[in-house]
Structures are given as C-alpha cells and as structure tokens.
C-alpha cells in the first residue's frame, strides 16, 4: 500500500512529463511555422534562432491573401478535398456496409484486390495515371484530381467504414425490421445515426489526405488556374529567393480548414455511441 502511495505521484509526474515532451516534439514545427509567419521579413535571418521575434507583424498574411494567387489555390483545394471526401465516403459507406452485412460471391476476391492496391508505392503508377488522364482530356482540371483521389482513398475508407458497421450489432437491424422497417428505413433510422462517428472519421481522413496531396497535383496540374494549395505553395519559391514569411503565412492559413473540419466532426468522434445496445 505504502509503495503504491509513494509511487503514484512519481508515476503521474512521469506520465505527464512524457506527454508534455511528446507534445512539444510534435507541435514544435507548427510553432516554428507560426513564428516565422509573424516575423517581419528583415528579421527572418538576423533572428533566425530566437524563439519569438522582437517585432510582430501580420503583414505576411495580408500580402498572401490580397497580393498572391493564394485565395484561388485555397479555393481549388477546398473544392477538390470536399468533393473527394464526400464522394469517397459515400461510396465507402455503401461498400463497407455490403462487406459487413452481406455474403456474396467474389467478396473475398474484391477485398484481396483492394488490399493489393494499398501495397504499391504511388510513384510506380504516376506515369500510367498521367497517360490515362491525358487520354481522357482531363489534364489541368480539378476533376482529374478528384477522380484520382477518390480512387486512391476508397479502399482504405471502405475498410474503415466496414469496421464501423461491424461494430453495430446485426440484431439492431433485425429488431428494426421486426418493428416494421424496410431495410432502407432501418438503415436510415437505426444504422445511420449510429454510424455518424464512422462517417465523420472517414470524411476527416479522406479530406486530410486530399488536402495535403502533392505528387499527383504536381503531375496533373500545370496551369495556375487549377493549382491546389500544396502545389501553389511552391510558387513562393522563385528562381532567386524563397519568400519564407509569405510561405509560412500561407501554411498557417492552410491549417485552418483541417482544424475547423476536425472541430466540427469531433462531437461525432466520441466513442460509446452504441454502448447499451446489446447485453449488459
């Protein structure tokens, strides 16, 4: 008992210290991003290693927003990521439900194929994808990115959704059908409300993946008009200099939608929504 009492505060402090250390480690680049974004240009190199600049400015932000193509990049990214997230999640929800609830011929094969697609490095298929998109006449269009992102995200999103559906007892649907529901009604009134956390998580996952994708955006988009944000960021690197302050300001702004998205879906991510459904 005594040892436990003595060990306890030590353990707690240790645990807190570990968490604090991890947080510092993980969040430091973010902090540095914000720090440089608010540092006036002329101090960037002279106060390069200071933890906080002696002068503070929001000039980088206003310049980025009003005097560069940033808003267009940002809008493009938003269109691409939201469309991708919505469509991929919708398809993944349908497929995940089927995998979870129905037994059909070729199910194992389809699952195996979907797993297989996750094993290849993307670099391997850049060239073929480029050819396909070019042949379709979709180069330099946002739809090409949406198409490719959806294709790449569906397998994982499907597995994610399937695991959420697996977590919903089948008895609930049976009970709903006994209570007079059609299969569709039982989906809408019983399964859907219980799947919201899963839908939220999947939406968030796909959105983030699409939001930060560079490789295909770089390959498939050359025109300024349809550039997405990660590629647009590279335009801050000119032949002779890198505009660090503006680049960082743009980076900070790019974090905003992701953060907002997660704040928005956070309440759906709380666990235990299905607790109390079956047994004690």
């Amino acid at each position: 008992m005594a040892t436990w009492q003595r060990a306890n505060p030590l353990m707690r402090t240790g645990k807190l210290a570990a968490i604090a250390f991890y947080l510092c480690f993980a969040l430091f680049p973010l902090y540095w991003l914000i720090k440089i974004a608010v540092t006036p240009d002329r101090l960037i190199y002279t106060e390069g290693t200071a933890l906080w600049p002696s002068e503070f400015t929001i000039g980088n932000f206003t310049t980025v927003i009003w005097q560069t193509d940033f808003l267009r990049f940002f809008g493009n990214s938003l269109i691409v990521s939201l469309s991708t997230a919505a469509i991929a999640t919708l398809i993944a929800a349908g497929a995940g439900y089927a995998f979870s609830r129905f037994d059909f011929r070729g199910k194992r094969l389809v699952i195996a194929l979907m797993l297989l697609t996750q094993m290849f490095p993307l670099l391997m298929i850049i060239a073929p994808i480029y050819r396909i998109i070019a042949a379709m006449g979709l180069l330099n269009s946002l739809s090409s990115l949406i198409l490719v992102y959806i294709a790449f995200n569906i397998p994982f999103a499907t597995f994610l959704m399937q695991s959420f559906f697996d977590g919903i007892p089948k008895d609930l649907e049976d009970a709903a059908m006994m209570d007079g529901c059609t299969r569709f009604q039982s989906l809408r009134k019983v399964i859907l409300p219980l799947t919201l956390p899963g839908l939220g998580a999947t939406l968030g996952f796909v959105f983030t993946a699409a939001w930060s994708e560079v490789l295909f955006a770089l390959m498939l988009i050359k025109s300024n008009a349809s550039m997405t944000f990660p590629v647009g960021l590279l335009t801050f690197v000119s032949k002779f200099s890198v505009d660090w302050g503006q680049m960082m300001a743009a980076g900070v702004l790019a974090l905003v939608p992701s953060c907002m998205f997660f704040i928005f879906i956070q309440r759906y991510l709380v666990q235990g929504l299905t607790s109390g459904a079956v047994k004690g």
């Binding site: 008895d171 049976d174 009970a175 709903a176 006994m178 529901c181 409300p193 109390g276 459904a277 004690g280």
Partner: protein, 352 residues
C-alpha cells in the same frame, strides 16, 4: 391471435443442414417453448418464423396463409432478442414506441400506449433514459415493452432471460407467465434451460441436432419421454441411465439382479430411472448396493451420488434430510413402474 403452422420446414446453409423436416402446429394463444442444447437450431427456427431467415424448404403459415415470402414487417409478429437489441440512440419511450412511429401513428396515441406498457413493466420512471443508463433487468423489460406496445399476432422470445442473474431470471419468468395469461397471445419461447421450459410452456418442443425429438406437455415429456435424449434433457437432476440385458420376465441389471418388468421387448439395452424414483431401502428389499460418494443436503431434499456395485454411478434423490455421510454403504431400490426402457438407438420402449 394467431395459429402458426410449420410443414416440412428445413433450413440449410449451403451444404450444412441446420433443421430437418420440422412439422409443428402452434394453436392460437398457446405458449410453446422450443428447448434443446446450444447449436441445435432453436434460434434459426424462431428467426424463420419471424421472417429474418429464409425458409429453405417447406411452408410456414399463419392462420392458414402462406408466409414464406412475406417480409418480417408484414407478419405482425414481435420478437424479443437475447441481446435485447435496444436502439442505443433512442430513449426508452422512443424505443418502445418505435414500431408505432414507423407505422405513422400520431404522437398522442403513441404516448398513451407507451405509458401504459411502461406502467405494466414498472418502467414509468425510466422512459426518458437511454438504454446505456439502464441495468440488465431494465433493458430486458424495455425489450419486452417494445413487443407489448405493438399488440402483435404472436410473440417470439429468443432466450430472453439468459443474460440475467438467477434471482432476476425467476422474477422475469413469472412476469412472462403473467404476461401470457393477461394477453392470451400466441407465444414461442426459445430456451436451453429446461426449468424455464417446464414452468412456462403449454407444450414443449424438444430439438436436438436440428430434428424435433418430441412435442408434448411438460408432464408428457417428464412421464413418457420419446427417447433417451428427451428423458435426460427434461427433468432435474438428470435421469440415470444404466445398461441392462433383456431376460425372462424382465431385465437383468449389471449386478446380476433380475428386475421384473412384464412384457418387456427383447430390444432393450438401457434402463432410465429418475433420481427421485430411486429409494434408499432395507438391505432385504433393495436391488442394488453401493457406497455413497457425495451427499448434498439441500434441506428439502438430499442428493446422494452413489457408486453401485456392478452398475456404476447412480444419483438418488430423497425427500427431506437423510443422515448419510460419504463412504456410508447404501441400499437402493427402484420404485415400481417408474423405469424407462430404451433400445440401442435410444428410442423409448413401451411395456406391453
């Protein structure tokens, strides 16, 4: 109010045969209990009646109307699931009134019906709670309430009490019996617990390995089991079964004693005798002698597990307290007319 009829019903999953040639007529207002060991196909049969499972072969009808192709929602049957299957995102009242909500009945009608059912089940104070804030027994009541509110043609129960502790189980069992008396509805109840079966049923259906072994009243099954499986499954403690050989005018026990049983078939290979039909007797009147192995004093009864010479272990149940200790010698007699005889296949043999 409904008469349920199963004719030649079979269930197969691919090549696996789960139920074979089930023929059963369930009368209007009858309480039928399906009983059998785990995995024998009870739930499958119940789910086929509910419409949740396809019928591979044969016909199921309600009041003479074929139901095979009718979806569950149009069968007007309510089911209480073993897992309760309460909707976790709806409060108790909405859970209970969900079927009416789906049927598009108005809020006032729904409220009064739910309130009435909640009052019957003692749930009135809990109607605003979510299922996760209820105890196991309360969840079980809500699941029953959900069925009652519907006023269905028939009720199905799939091991509704198996997740409750012993005391609560007895209480809910009584409640279900009362419910049946009050509603006078057709009920089909699945359990693997033969005590539940004997106490609740008008008629019991004993299933084993997907085949109906016997259908009958609790007393029928207790007194004239159709085969050794039913004999040993129904009744507690379990019936003793010992090997015998046919002999002139009776059967010969393993210890050489001749038990007089007039008109016994020569196919007899086993004799079954319930523990309550064995008596401790005078050495003079006894047919078997042995040593008491374990003695359980239950107050009202005494269970004696004896090792009998030439026969093996036997269990004897005596009324009241018997002053006997492990290691004591016992003399056992078989009550006349209480023995059951079985052939090699386990089929019960009637004495002529």
């Amino acid at each position: 109010m409904a008469r349920l009829e199963l004719t030649g019903v079979e269930k197969r999953y691919g090549a696996v045969e789960v139920l074979r040639d089930v023929n059963l007529r369930i009368n209007d207002g009858e309480f039928i209990v399906l009983v059998g060991p785990s995995g024998c196909g009870k739930s499958t049969l119940l789910r086929m009646i509910a419409g949740l499972e396809e019928i591979s072969e044969g016909e199921f009808s309600i009041d003479g109307k074929r139901m095979n192709e009718v979806p569950p929602r149009d069968r007007d049957i309510a089911m209480v699931f073993q897992s309760y299957a309460l909707y976790p995102h709806m409060d108790v009242a909405r859970n209970m009134g969900f079927s009416m909500e789906i049927r598009g009945e108005g809020t006032p009608a729904r409220r009064s019906k739910v309130a009435a059912a909640a009052a019957t089940l003692g749930l009135s104070a809990l109607t605003a709670r979510l299922p996760k804030a209820l105890s196991g027994g309360q969840r079980q009541r809500v699941a029953m309430g959900r069925a009652i509110v519907r006023d269905p043609r028939a009720f199905l129960f799939d091991e509704p009490l198996s997740n409750l502790d012993a005391a609560l189980r007895v209480e809910m069992r009584l409640e279900i019996a009362r419910l049946h008396r009050r509603l006078d509805a057709t009920m089909v109840y699945v359990t693997h617990d033969q005590v539940e079966a004997l106490t609740l049923a008008d008629r019991i259906v004993v299933l084993n390995g997907g085949i109906i072994q016997q259908v009958g009243t609790p007393l029928d099954l207790y007194e004239t089991p159709a085969n050794r499986f039913v004999a040993q499954f129904i009744g507690s403690p379990t019936m003793n079964v010992i090997a015998v050989t046919p002999a002139e005018g009776g059967v010969r026990l393993g210890n050489g004693v001749l038990l007089a049983l007039p008109g016994v078939s020569i196919d007899v290979t086993e004799l079954g005798i319930r523990p309550e039909h064995l008596d401790l007797a005078d050495p003079a009147a006894s047919t078997m002698t042995g040593i008491a192995d374990v003695v359980e004093h239950l107050g009202s009864d005494t269970n004696i597990y004896a090792q009998v010479e030439g026969i093996g272990p036997l269990m004897v149940r005596q009324h009241g307290h018997v002053a006997l200790r492990p290691g004591d010698p016992v003399d056992i007699a078989i009550q006349p007319g209480k023995a059951h005889l079985f052939d090699t296949a386990g089929k019960a043999l009637r004495q002529a």
